[in-house]
Amino acid sequence: MNVIETRDLSIGYGRKVVTRSLAFDVKAGEVLCLLGPNGCGKTTLFKTLLGLLPPLSGEVRVLGETIAGWSRLAFAQRVAYMPQAHPGVFPFTVNEIVLMGRTAHIGRFATPSGHDRKIAADCLEMLGISHLGECSYTAISGGERQLALIARALAQQATVLVMDEPTASLDFGNQIRILGHIDRLRHQGITILMSTHQPEHALRVADRIALLAPGSITGIGAPQDVATPDKLADLYGVTEDEIAAYLPAGGLKHDHCSH
């Protein structure tokens, strides 16, 4: 079963087309990793799939329903979005920010209950940032904000998780931990669509990898078939030798030999 389906999809802002004729699916229970250079339209694609940006043409279906057919509330109960971290304006506590992830589950006129607080606290605990709960979201570091936004997406308890560069500004330890969480979520049956700038992260967690070049998807499939040095070299505009020299032994070595 497909969780997300796109047919002949063009995305972009107004008259500016970023990518045309996209046709790919996200399968239930898989981790699909999106790789692509800066400005290739990964975030634009996510926003279109989430119904935050209208498609320029073509069709997006999420859980069998066209994207325009969803109410925001029903959609948020099923699909959670972890955007790239922003500094925020008002000094909400991290607890309050994570509780905002419960909004789709609480009544229109209600405030979060003890049950919601428990879920939020569990999510903070799972990410190892319980100590930040009472800190002001505007005063913590970029990496900590990112962890808070991951906690918020988890608190949403959705079956589909869309994550825009979840490992971007994290330290080495947190990168490893977050990849571990993604793996665990996959085993719980959560479908994950994420972007990353690090092919080795994609190789670590992805069931499939999609290569998004400016204008189109140039490859989608099993990691060993897609994240190959020649295709990555092509995607990022570097040489295979440069990739081999950069990646530590073992990174893409196995795949390199097969080509």
Partner: protein, 340 residues
């Protein structure tokens, strides 16, 4: 700002006792001072239905002069502060005031027209109220026509443009007004705001409008928080952003127009008070709204008491709120800069 969000309740109680003290002082001082003992005796007598044994003049001052005035201060202050808190949240900016979408400029223009053409006080209030709503309606309609921009930015810019146009209109009618009559000074006095002359009938017409506007703010208090996130994030969390923002704009505009039409333009309340309230209880609207209502009521009753007792003549309220509000605002600004 550690400790502030974790312990809002004692801070709230402290603020509550200060505000109650302000109300009592406001009842006591003025051209005809009333001693606290007389005040208590009169209130007690009213509650128990017995005769207080006070001179009739004291009773009249307390119940017919001070009570409507303090009530007006509470209503105007609470309303402007609540509207300001809602606007600051939805515009993701702690420096906006309820005037941001042109409601005060519209009401000011309406009142100026009414005074210029010599309408009755009631007619002036009605025109001010309607023009305030119209101005915001025009701003909202313009923002709907401009697409592919941040909707919040377009609203603010349209508000500034429409407000400037209306203020130009106000200036025009000031120039055209008859210098030998009271017209010009009436216009100027109205534009600076005052609680002088607000009677029970005015309160009875404005209070229901304020309560109607407050209802959606109270009901949607949790979701209001999410409007301070970027639109796309709030939407991804399950909020129909455009609809919620429209509901709040209508509510905040109704509240502001209702009190501006009876009190004139009382500046700074809607900007400073939510700022101070946020400082006290944090940004969560479930706590920010009650704190803003309380501090707003206290602030306007206090400034109005100063306005009528500071010098021999009564000062326009807007001048006093600005004189106290602006330095206080700068102080808060300096402090938040340090702690964040």
């Amino acid at each position: 700002m550690p400790g502030k969000n974790s312990a809002p309740f004692p801070a709230f109680l402290t603020a509550l006792s200060i505000v109650v003290a302000i109300f009592l002082i406001a009842f006591a001082v003025g051209k005809y001072p009333v001693s606290p003992a007389d005040l208590l005796r009169s209130v007690f007598a009213r509650l128990t239905g017995r005769d207080a044994g006070l001179p009739e003049a004291v009773e009249i001052v307390i119940w017919n002069i001070r009570l409507p005035r303090v009530t007006a201060g509470i209503l105007v202050g609470a309303a402007l502060a609540a509207a300001g808190a809602a606007y600051q949240n939805m515009f993701r900016n702690p420096l906006v005031s309820p005037d941001i979408l042109g409601v005060s400029a519209g009401a000011g223009f309406g009142a100026t027209l009414g005074i210029f053409f010599g309408f009755s006080l009631t007619a002036i209030q009605v025109i001010a109220f309607v023009c305030g709503l119209l101005a915001v309606g025009v701003v909202y309609a313009i923002s709907g026509l401009v697409r592919r921009h941040d909707p919040v930015l377009v609203l603010v810019l349209a508000g500034i443009a429409v407000g400037t146009l209306l203020n130009a209109g106000v200036s025009l009618f000031k120039i055209l007004s008859d210098p030998h009559s009271q017209q010009l000074s009436n216009i100027v006095f109205w534009l600076l705001g005052s609680l002088n002359g607000i009677d029970t009938r005015d309160l009875a017409s404005a209070a229901p409008l304020v309560l109607i506007g407050l209802a959606p703010m109270i009901l949607l208090r949790w979701r209001v928080n999410l409007l301070s996130l970027p639109d796309e994030e709030a939407a991804a969390l399950g909020v129909e952003v455009a609809r919620l923002r429209l509901v709040l704009i209508v509510a905040a505009t109704l509240i502001t127009a209702a009190v501006v039409s009876i009190a004139g333009i009382v500046g700074w309340v809607g900007l400073v008070v939510p700022h101070a309230a946020r400082f006290l209880v944090g940004p969560n609207f479930s706590r920010l709204l009650p704190a803003s209502l309380l501090l707003g009521a206290g602030f306007v009753v206090a400034t109005d008491t100063l306005a009528r007792t500071l010098v021999v003549i009564e000062l326009p309220l807007g001048i006093v709120t600005a004189m106290i509000g602006a330095p206080f605002f700068l102080y808060l600004l300096a402090r938040t800069g340090k702690t964040e």
